[in-house]
Symmetry: C2
Subunit: 212 residues, 2 copies
């Protein structure tokens, strides 16, 4: 009767698949049209489900949106973690480079997260507050402390501290968040080597060259 909670117990073989498909098509729809421009019926149809199943598996359009974002952010975390796994703990430059590379690669592979963030960041509201409180504040703090360390070791380029976060995210992700525009402009489609060149470019923007 009630919405199945995180720990579903018994009959969940096919149900889990519907949940997955709903989240996947919700991610696509929210990224393309924003929350308010997205339709639950379109999301359900794309997932091969009925609109009322959204309210069954999630309790509302809002909760489906939250589930979609938690999925995307978990993917980002795992991508960043695997990119940082092999890097020397004490090498701040290498860790920064690996993080930027991970960010760019993820933005290219999963542009939906940056698209949704750009939709939501454009206006105040409950969803934005939820995003910042539950997910973005920590990421922002992590970047700032990494940046402060780079500044202390004279590895940071001439970029103002207040501006690092959004400049970095913007430089790393707009090409993919706005990929449909880039295609019309004749850029891409983004091959693997373009992404690598892009990551190297972003690193060069924020890190002083080594032998200086």
């Amino acid at each position: 009767m009630a919405t199945p909670s995180a720990g579903r117990s018994r009959v969940n073989r096919g149900s889990e698949q519907v949940r997955e498909r709903l989240i996947e098509s919700a991610i696509a729809e929210f990224a393309a049209h924003g929350f308010e421009g997205s339709s639950g019926r379109r999301i359900a149809a794309e997932a091969g489900a009925h609109q009322s199943q959204i309210n069954y598996h999630f309790s509302s359009k809002n909760d489906l949106w939250k589930a979609s974002l938690e999925r995307l952010l978990a993917e980002l975390d795992s991508a960043l973690a695997s990119n940082l796994a092999a890097v020397d703990e004490s090498d701040a430059r290498a860790r920064f480079s690996a993080s930027v590379q991970g960010l760019v690669q993820f933005a290219a592979r999963r542009p939906e997260l940056n698209r949704i963030m750009m939709h939501e960041g454009a206006a105040p509201g409950d969803r934005l507050r939820w995003l910042v409180d539950n997910h973005m504040r920590g990421r922002h703090a992590d970047l700032m402390s990494a940046w402060d360390a780079l500044t202390a070791s004279d590895d940071a380029a001439a970029v103002d501290r207040d501006v690092v976060y959004h400049s970095l995210v913007g430089a790393a992700s707009l090409l993919y968040a706005n990929a449909p525009e880039a295609v019309l402009l004749g850029i891409g489609p983004a091959g693997r080597d373009l992404v690598d060149r892009h990551a190297a470019s972003v690193v060069a923007m924020f890190l002083k060259p080594l032998n200086h």
Copy 2:
């Protein structure tokens, strides 16, 4: 009877003001919620007008959106032109710096344009195609030829050519396009000096230092 065209003739004193107010509140609404998430009734109410006046002064929600974008792009052009007016024609570095400064200042003063561009760039469609065909292709080409000149004179930083446009726009505008998010993160509100530091940072990202 028909929608009044650009050259209105007689009774147009108050009408022109309604048109202006509709465009102004449409800009705010489209920037905050995207085209599909925006409501004509909300736009009209904000402008102190009736919903049907949108279809009278513009013939459709789509045409109101186009008028809004032409307004914003005209403002951008005039801001950039005035920023470039006093700069030496032959000094490519100075012209690039002045353009970047103009871009950052405009993004801070009128974040709506970048917000709308980020909404529309996230998915293919008629509006995006109209934007690119009528306004963005030329701007992109202008930046690329400026960049090629900077590359030829060894003034361009180590940024891949395919990536310059979106990296520059992203680095220059995301902080303002997503200002509501930045506020929640404790950045800003953007003072005049922050904008100047931001512009200098972006210039430093894309231009090699002078005496190198």
